[in-house]
Symmetry: C2
Subunit: 346 residues, 2 copies
DNA sequence: TTGAAAGCGATACCAG
DNA sequence: CTGGTATCGCTTTCAA
């Protein structure tokens, strides 16, 4: 690289006029200069440090200068110095997600911000397992909601990187981490229990072929089986043609009831059943899940399983407690509440 | 600092035995010590610095040590030194979002990671305007997808904080920033244009009362009006009772067609119309939007407006170009493509 | 080929 | 009450 001959003595006297225009953001040093104080003082004033008393006029000058320059503290520098961040990392959902979960996420983020945490959703797409864990660990989050797929190794990486709370989110706990259990077997159990009471002993269970839905569909099927009813898995794609085939299959097998995975698949199935002249619920009973509005609009009205998550506020408190006073052992919490909404279709 | 008398030869043979247990994460210095090299060498090896050649045995020792210690670089330190980050910040959606947008987000994040950016969704809930902008700026993102609500001031803050590309996402451009225009008027226009062709001159437009949906509903209504058809705004809540009232209103007004905001509201409306004995499309025609699967399941099948966004890949390239070679002026891009899907309901 | 050391920006000691 | 200054972990000249 060519040495550019510098003429150092020719610096203009005024604060920041011509010359190379400010390319990057102003630092606390700039604010200090502008206010005529030291960097330390700037820090004290801007952080309201109570251990030290700064005179009112000085405070004003500092605030003034900060405002004028448009000073914004540098998060990286701050957390480097502090030795920790207030970042709570969570996976951005990688499958289309219902209003239940996305509503919950928003509420949770908002609640975290009340506790002065910075909620960051990190894309989990495209990197798997330990690599993802390492990428996440680089941000040195104080807490992590780890996706289901992250194994013990990944958990360990996160913990060793300084995360005070690593919380897995999935069907079952991972050793060494706290766990929020969303046990979808409960969904199948509730649906099947109802059908069983109504006299059905052998039922079909829709299994969406859609990518990423197995994670929920398989446990729901298992839940159905736990109740003792005989369950026939019926793979189905979300289109009418395939639904018609499934209906044919249902008739061949002589099934008297179907648990449809969720309300949308229930709607698909009901349409196909009705188009085939099958009466609901008399010939075939149908149960959905999620309690979407559309279930109330179907005819017959859809019997469904309503799911509920804890409030974002509750979970934010949970995270905060884990961070502030880490318990001796892992804490396990069941979070998915399933209850039957009985209408007309079953 | 007190000089600690080191007895270099007495290092225990095993990796990391007694002494004060590692409380926090290992640093590159730890790796260097373990490998018996300098921190600089560690950096060279781990970053594959091409400007400098390191012997193969040394490389191996460094990698080994890093693996053993579970070393993960500290993102904050790295970007502090580098003077910039690779963070692309975008707002986490604050309203329940359809599969269209959430699918797009995932694709986009994945595509960004192919370009070696770190996509971070930042919760936008609970902080407004300039405060949000400041909070975002603390992370020193290299690019920002700014939510619609962020004004010129916020944009400026972000830019001065060093963001190389600030891209607004909304109905109209904000001065000084690049813009991705999602002009929802086009949706209303497409729907109304079709209805107009079919002879309707005066139509109802459903306006969801749901929080946060105005942002889309209002422009869609405006789009309808642009086509010259007379539009009557019909506020509606998402429940059957209210829908029935809206139907009564529709009959009083003698409207022959309704643009239902989206497919879900269209379904609600159709149910209410049919319950009231109104024939679709003969008495009242209905057009939805979003082209959800459920539209195909309704009877009559729902005529709707399909929306399309550019691919995540495309947009990631756009962002990358803006970051690498910032153009002289702002770039404006229309991203929302609306087209009619003609079925039976209108 | 490797090491020593400067510095990125903010904070918290300890003197003055 | 305010100002120097060491420090966090990492990269990158510059010297050896």
């Amino acid at each position: 690289m060519v040495e550019k001959p510098q003429i150092p003595s020719q610096q203009p006297a005024s604060a920041e006029p011509p010359g190379p225009p400010r390319s990057s953001a102003p630092t606390s040093a700039d604010v200090a200069r502008q206010a005529g104080v030291s960097r330390a003082t700037v820090s004290y004033v801007l952080n309201n440090t109570s251990a030290v008393r700064i005179s009112e006029p000085t405070r004003r000058r500092v605030h003034e200068a900060a405002r004028e320059l448009g000073y914004v503290p540098h998060a990286a520098a701050r957390s480097l110095r502090a030795g920790h961040t207030r970042i709570v990392l969570m996976p951005a959902p990688d499958v289309p997600v219902g209003t239940l979960y996305s509503g919950f996420l928003n509420e949770f983020q908002w609640a975290l911000s009340r506790f002065d945490y910075t909620a960051v959703q990190y894309g989990s797409v495209g990197v798997g397992g330990d690599d993802a864990a390492r990428a996440w660990a680089e941000l040195r989050p104080v807490a992590v909601l780890a996706p289901a797929g992250m194994g013990r190794r990944g958990i360990g990486i996160l913990q060793r990187s300084g995360a005070r709370a690593v919380i897995t989110l999935g069907a079952e706990p991972v050793e060494g981490a706290h766990a929020l259990i969303a046990d979808h077997r409960a969904v199948g159990r509730v649906a099947a229990h109802h059908l069983r009471e109504r006299g059905h002993r052998r039922i079909g269970v829709l299994m969406p072929r859609e990518e990423g839905l197995d994670a929920f569909a398989v446990p729901r099927l298992a839940g159905v089986r736990e109740t003792g009813v005989e369950a026939v898995a019926l793979p189905v794609a979300y289109d009418e043609e395939n639904a018609a085939q499934v209906v044919a299959h249902i008739r061949e097998l002589g099934l008297s009831a179907v648990f449809a995975y969720n309300d949308e698949y229930a709607m698909l199935l009901m349409r196909a059943l009705q188009d085939a002249g099958v009466a609901i619920p008399d010939d075939v009973a149908v149960v959905g899940a999620d309690d979407l509005m559309l279930g109330r609009l179907l005819r017959p009205r859809l019997t469904t399983v309503r799911l509920a998550l804890p409030s974002g506020q509750e979970l934010a408190e949970f995270v905060d407690r884990l961070v502030r006073t880490p318990p001796a052992g892992p804490e396990i919490r069941d979070v998915l509440d399933a209850s039957l909404v009985r209408r007309e279709s079953a």
